[in-house]
Symmetry: C2
Subunit: 341 residues, 2 copies
DNA sequence: GAGAATTTGAGGTACGTAAATCAAATTTAT
DNA sequence: ATAAATTTGATTTACGTACCTCAAATTCTC
C-alpha cells in the first residue's frame, strides 16, 4: 500500500503535526527532527497525494488570458481552446477570464495588462507584441507576484516566466528544407507572406526560413516579404498582385495566418503556374488545400496543447514550483495530405 | 462556488443518500425522485469532483503490459515509458505489471495472455502479433470482463477494445510522399526494409507506401521487401548485400526497427551513392543520422503518448466509460533535421 | 535552576464524495 | 385496513491531506 502521512509519522516516531510541519515548510521543527522525518519520507518512498492535498487546500487559481481580436481561423481556434479550458475550470480548480485586445498593438496590449494587474490574478497569459511598453507591463506584473506566460508569440527580453509556443526559428528552417527539397533542381523565385514583422513569431520564422534557403538552396531567388496583417482580404489582394508581377514564382511560404485569402489567389491561377506552397496552421482552408494538392505541407502548432501547457505552467509558477521543460515543449507538427488527422 | 452533492440534495429537496443513489446508479429510487435529482444536477451544473470521488473510492486498477523482448531502441524506449508509468502508478491509482514474451511469436503471446487471464487484472495491453491463437486469447480475456488494448501493432479482427498506436497505413503513405518528392525527377530503385510481415503495423506501412509510390511516382522501381526481424545485425548484413546487388538504389524506406544496422551499412557507402532515406522511430541512431544528413526524414510514434493513452483507455474501459476517440488518437510525428526536439 | 522560549504532541475540523446502516415514511398488494 | 414491499432520510465512517488550537514537553538563557 502507498504510504501516507500517518505511516511516516509512525516510522519517524513523531506526531502527525510534526510531519505536517516538515512537509509544508512550517516553522517550529528542530533540525534533527526534520531530518528524521525526511529520512522516513525517503525510506518509505512517500509521495504526497496531490488530489487529496488540493481537496484539503481548496485552493483555486485565478488566471487571465489576453487574446488579440484577430479573425483568422488560428486565433479563433485558440480562443475556442481557452473557452474549453474555462469549461474545465471547475475540475481543474482554475478560474479563467478571457479579455480582448486589438491585434499588433503594443500600446493597447500594455494598457490591458495594466488593467489585468489591478485585478491581481494569480497568473496571466498573453500573445506578445514586441514593444517596450509591454516589457514594462510584464515587469510590473512580476513585481506583483503574478505568473506571466507568453502564448504563441514570445517576448524574450522581458521578465515572462515561460513561453508556451513552438520554436519558430526551427519552423522556418523546416519550411525551407521542405520547400527546397520539393523544388529540387528547379530555378525560380520564392515568395513569403507574413502577418506582421512586429510579432516575434513571424520574424523568427522568416529568419529561419531565409537562412536555410540561402545556404542550402542558392538556386532559388528570394522575393521581399509581404506583410498582410493576418487578414485574408489583404492577403488575397497582395498575393494576386505578386503573381501578376512575377510569373516565375515557383515556391511560396505562408508563415502567418490569413491563408484563406492567399489560397483563393492561388486557386485563380492556372494549375501549371501554381507554386509549391508551405503554410502554417491546420485550419479548414489549409486542410482542404492540402487534400486537393494546392498546399504541399502545413506546419502546425497545436493550440490546445499550448493552452493546456500555459495553464500547467501558470499553476506551477503560482505555487513557486519548477516546470519540467521537456514536458512543456510544444512540437511543430508537419502535415502532408497523407497524414491529416 | 462549484455546487456539491449537498447543494443538489438541498435543491432537489431530497437527502444526500438519495442523491448518492442517483449519482452512482444504486437501486431504490422512484422514477419521479430520480428525475427531480437529475434536474437539480442539470440546473446547478453539477459535475462530480473526480479527485474527491477517487479518494473516497480508494479504487486501484490492476493492469498488465505484455511487451516483446526486442532489443531495438524503440522497444527499449517503450519499455522505459511503461516503467515510468509504473513509477507514477501510486499517484494514478494503478498497479502496472510488465511481463515479457519472445517477439514475433503468436504462440508464445497467446500462452502468456492465458497466464495473464488467470491473474484477473482489470486490463491488459500488449503488442499484437497476427495469429488466431492470440485472437482466441483476446476473446477469453474479454469474456472475463478484462479490458484489452493493443499497443503499437493492432489486431483488428479481434475483440480488443482499442488500439493505442498510429495509423500505419497513413504513415506508409506519408513516407512515400516524402520520398517521392525528395527524389523528384530522378529514376532508380527504391528498397524497403521491414521487421516482419507477421506484425500488422509493418504490413500496413508497406501497403500504404507501395500504393502511393506506384500511383504517384511511377518512375521509381520497387525492389522486393527485406525482412530483418527488427535486428540491427541482420539488417546490416541484408542491406549491405542489397547495395552490392543493386548499385542504383536511390531511395530507402526503413519501416521497422533495427535502424542502427541499416545506417551502418549506408554509412559504409561513398557519399555519392547513398540513397535518400526515410526511417521510422526517433532513436539515438536515427537522430544522429538525421543531424548529419544520412537520413532525410524520420516518422515517429511517441511511445510515451501511446503508453499514457493505453492506460487512460484501460481505466475508462474498466469502469465501463466511453473513450474520447479524438483525444486518444496518436499522431505521426515527422522530423527533419531542422525540427528535432 | 528558574523562567522564557522553542519544539512537539494530541486532537479536531474541513475538503467532496462513496458507501454503509438502520429507522422512518410511503407506496403497493391483498 | 393491514401487512409487505419499496423508497427515502438521517447519520456515520472513510479516503489523505491541510490547517488550526491548546497543552505538554523539551531546550535554551542567564
Amino acid at each position: 500500500m502507498k504510504p501516507t502521512v500517518h505511516d511516516i509519522a509512525r516510522s519517524a516516531g513523531v506526531s502527525l503535526a510534526t510531519v505536517d510541519r516538515v512537509l509544508n515548510g512550517r516553522p517550529g521543527v528542530r533540525r534533527i527532527t526534520q531530518e528524521k522525518v525526511e529520512e522516513a519520507i525517503a525510506v518509505l518512498g512517500y509521495v504526497r497525494d496531490v488530489a487529496a492535498a488540493n481537496l484539503a487546500k481548496g485552493r483555486t487559481y485565478a488566471f487571465t488570458f489576453v487574446l488579440p481580436e484577430n479573425d483568422n481561423s488560428f486565433m479563433i481556434g485558440l480562443r475556442e481552446e481557452v473557452e474549453q479550458a474555462v469549461g474545465r475550470s471547475g475540475a481543474e480548480r482554475t478560474r479563467i477570464r478571457v479579455v480582448d485586445v486589438p491585434p499588433f498593438d503594443g500600446q493597447a496590449l500594455s494598457t490591458m495588462l495594466e488593467g489585468v494587474l489591478a485585478e491581481r490574478p494569480d497568473g496571466v497569459a498573453f500573445v506578445a507584441v514586441e514593444s517596450s511598453d509591454v516589457q514594462a507591463a510584464v515587469a510590473r506584473l512580476r513585481e506583483a507576484g503574478i505568473a506571466v506566460v507568453t502564448l504563441v508569440s514570445d517576448l524574450p527580453g522581458s521578465q515572462r516566466h515561460h513561453f508556451a509556443g513552438i520554436d519558430n526559428h526551427a519552423a522556418g528552417r523546416t519550411a525551407a528544407n521542405l520547400l527546397g527539397r520539393f523544388l529540387s533542381g528547379r530555378d525560380g523565385r520564392v515568395a513569403m507572406v507574413a502577418g506582421s514583422m512586429l510579432v516575434r513569431d513571424h520574424r523568427e520564422r522568416l529568419e529561419g526560413f531565409l537562412s536555410v534557403l540561402s545556404e542550402d538552396f542558392p538556386r532559388l531567388a528570394i522575393l521581399p516579404v509581404i506583410e498582410a496583417r493576418d487578414d485574408p482580404a489583404i492577403a488575397e489582394e497582395l498575393v494576386t498582385g505578386l503573381f501578376r508581377r512575377y510569373p516565375d514564382v515557383i515556391g511560396l511560404y505562408s508563415l502567418g495566418a490569413g491563408n484563406r485569402g492567399i489560397l483563393k489567389a492561388v486557386r485563380s491561377l492556372p494549375e501549371a503556374r501554381r507554386p509549391v506552397i508551405i503554410a502554417h496552421e491546420l485550419t479548414r482552408s489549409t486542410r482542404a488545400a492540402l487534400a486537393d494538392g494546392v498546399v504541399d505541407a502545413v506546419l502546425n502548432q497545436d493550440a490546445g496543447h499550448e493552452v493546456r501547457s500555459a495553464i500547467r505552467v501558470l499553476k506551477a509558477k503560482a505555487d513557486g514550483l519548477p516546470v519540467i521543460a521537456a514536458q512543456e515543449r510544444i512540437r511543430i507538427d508537419i502535415f502532408l495530405k497523407d497524414n491529416l488527422p
